[in-house]
């Protein structure tokens, strides 16, 4: 990112004088004079003791070293107290004023937040800028003002020369006035442009491209996760609306056939078997659908869904969950974590009991599952935990697992859940 602005670039163009830029340069420079004046007004407080100290040093009254030192320290102390605050305030105004110089890029403050005012390098860059505005700007402004004054006074000088019947003076004065008009405009624009470039350099943080890309990547991952969730819900709906209804109808027909067939007829055994298989399939399909997109979770929220899966679990599960709803993605990830952890507790850890907690701590949902099994869970084996960690990461959270051999296993998911 360069610190060039449109005003500075306009100066080098051929049609500069016919454009709006000379006038914007004048406006920018004029407002610089105002800002500079205000800065001097405020700085006069700490400067007063310093000037007094210099005066004392010059006059050398009795004990002048001590008095000068006290005055000097008072002045410096006042500056240390006032300077950073003034610098921060001025920096805000200056960032806003950048637009006058045609610098329309976002001008983010370079303060990082956190940390103190005095420890942030951005503060001291702003103080440096403040001193430049207080010391250098008036010199430049003086030069410009002088040139401007010469231009403005040209008609009076001409009048004077005519009255004094001095054609040579008249010629030079007129020429000077005419030549100075574009010079003043060029100077104002160049000075304003350079000033604005300096202000951007010292007062604005460089947009961090890497950070911006990371945010974009995280967003795209979150979008992907959301898309997967939407797809899951669609599949659940299709299975429910089509497959489940047809299966119920089929099972019912088989039930009728079974009911009306004499038990000793040749087809009875086959029909009975088909009927039982269809019934088992109905249960399996319902469990499958529940796993894809748990309806309880969607309609009643995380606590109800956790209680449901805990009740259906083969081991004793204690649930302690806050009520309250979260975003669909957060709820889906949290619930998937609980389901996976409980399934692992039964299948792999040989646990007899487990405890699930779901708490909102600040802006984070913390879900933890602890079982009393034999531990030794390895996230690198099997895709369940890895997939879960990926989903948690895509939702901006993280998954932690502690599972020493001998147990217990603790699985913890932390997910951001907004304000």
């Amino acid at each position: 990112m360069t610190s060039t602005n449109a005003l500075l670039m306009a100066v080098t163009r051929r049609r500069f004088l016919a454009s709006e830029w000379p006038w914007r340069g004048v406006v920018y420079t004029a407002t610089t004079a105002v800002a500079s004046g205000v800065v001097w007004l405020v700085l006069s407080c700490p400067l007063a003791p310093l000037v007094a100290a210099l005066e004392v040093l010059r006059a050398r009254p009795a004990g002048y070293m001590f008095v000068a030192a006290v005055l000097g320290l008072a002045g410096l102390g006042l500056f240390a107290l006032v300077g950073p605050w003034l610098a921060v305030a001025v920096a805000g105004v200056e960032r806003w004023r950048l637009r006058l110089a045609g610098d329309d890029d976002p001008a983010p403050s370079s303060w990082r937040g956190g940390g103190g005012l005095y420890t942030d390098p951005a503060t001291w860059r702003a103080v440096a800028y403040l001193l430049l505005l207080a010391v250098v700007a008036p010199v430049w402004l003086g030069v410009l003002a002088l040139a401007g004054l010469l231009v403005v006074s040209t008609p009076f000088a001409m009048n004077h020369a005519i009255a004094a019947d001095s054609p040579v003076t008249l010629f030079w004065r007129t020429t000077l006035g005419l030549v100075l008009i574009p010079v003043v405009l060029y100077m104002a624009a160049a000075f304003g442009g350079a000033h604005a470039a300096l202000a951007r350099l010292l007062l604005c943080s460089e947009p961090d491209l890497a950070a911006a890309e990371l945010v974009e990547v995280a967003r795209s991952r979150a979008r992907l996760a959301d898309a997967f969730d939407a797809e899951r819900r669609r599949i659940e709906r299709d299975l429910h609306d089509v497959a489940q209804q047809r299966l119920v109808s089929l099972t019912m027909q088989l039930g009728l056939a079974r009911h009306d067939m004499p038990i000793d007829s040749p087809g009875a055994a086959a029909v009975t078997s088909a009927h039982e298989q269809a019934k088992a399939l109905m249960v399996e399909l319902r469990d499958l659908i529940r796993g894809i997109s748990p309806r309880t979770l969607r309609e009643l929220g995380l606590r109800a869904a956790i209680e449901e899966v805990a009740a259906a679990c083969a081991i004793r599960v204690r649930v302690d969950a806050d009520p309250g709803r979260y975003s669909p993605t957060v709820e889906a990830v949290a619930f998937a974590a609980v389901s996976e952890a409980l399934a692992n507790a039964v299948k792999h850890a040989g646990a007899a009991g487990a405890a699930v907690t779901a708490r909102r701590i600040g802006n984070t949902l913390v879900v933890q599952v602890r079982d009393d099994g034999q531990g030794g869970a390895d996230p690198s084996r099997g895709s369940g935990l890895t997939g879960l960690a990926d989903r948690a990461a895509a939702a901006g959270g993280r998954l932690l697992i502690s599972s020493p051999v001998g147990g217990p296993t603790i699985l913890r998911v932390e997910l951001p859940c907004g304000s």
């Binding site: 209804q245 119920v248 109808s249 019912m252 027909q253 079974r258 209680e307």
Partner: protein, 215 residues
């Protein structure tokens, strides 16, 4: 017995019509949404209404809400709600309507066992209450506090009561004496603070006390 069926899946509706005819019910109307159900009941004045829970246009709980409205308009109208899963909203309200008499809430899985299903429909038409054990289990889960006071044995008995079984039937299923069953039910009623004076419908009230607590 004259029956109105509301079920949006044509395949399943025709299947149900076949099943009911086979077991001696007379299907006077088969419709596909809640509005048509209300109209058909007004026209035909059936002895029993069977309705799907999730129907057009919203596919949420239209059938349940229509059933509640029908029961409000015609107190005592026997209604059986059929659902693919346990619908929590309005389920308690439906089961509590009309003192819990002549009401059923069954998961669709139940239609697979055709003869038992027909028998449950008859029980509801006769003024009984039949609630799918799965429905009871899930609805009870939401009211953890009263459940916490019941022992597993009492819980078991209550689930069977909710299904509409008599004391004798429960005794057979649990391999208990009838007196033992009576004692357990007595414990349940006591723990749920139900009035002892009401003897005709205490069993149903026991279930409803749960369900109402959850709304």
């Amino acid at each position: 017995m004259r029956v109105v069926i509301a079920e949006d899946s044509v395949l399943l509706r025709e299947g149900l019509v076949g099943l009911l005819s086979r077991f001696g019910f007379e299907v006077v109307a088969g419709v596909g949404d809640a509005a048509a159900l209300v109209a058909a009941v007004g026209e035909t004045e059936p002895d029993l209404v069977i309705t799907d829970v999730r129907m057009p246009p919203g596919f949420t709980d239209e059938g349940l809400r229509a059933a509640i409205a029908l029961r409000a308009a015609t107190p005592g109208l026997p209604v059986v709600a059929l659902s693919q899963y346990v619908q929590h909203s309005y389920a308690g309200e439906l089961l509590a309507s009309g003192q819990g008499r002549a009401i059923g809430y069954l998961l669709k899985d139940q239609v697979a066992d055709v003869a038992e299903f027909a028998e449950k429909l008859r029980r509801v038409a006769g003024g009984g209450t039949v609630v799918d054990p799965e429905v009871v289990r899930q609805l009870m889960q939401r009211g953890r506090d009263p459940l916490g006071h019941l022992s597993p044995g009492e819980h078991e008995v209550l689930a069977l009561v909710a299904e509409g079984h008599s004391n004798a039937a429960i005794a057979r299923i649990l391999v208990l004496t009838e007196a033992g069953v009576g004692k357990r039910i007595g414990n349940v009623l006591a723990k749920l603070n139900l009035p002892v004076s009401d003897d005709t419908n205490r069993r149903v009230l026991a279930v409803l006390a749960y369900l109402r607590g959850q709304e």
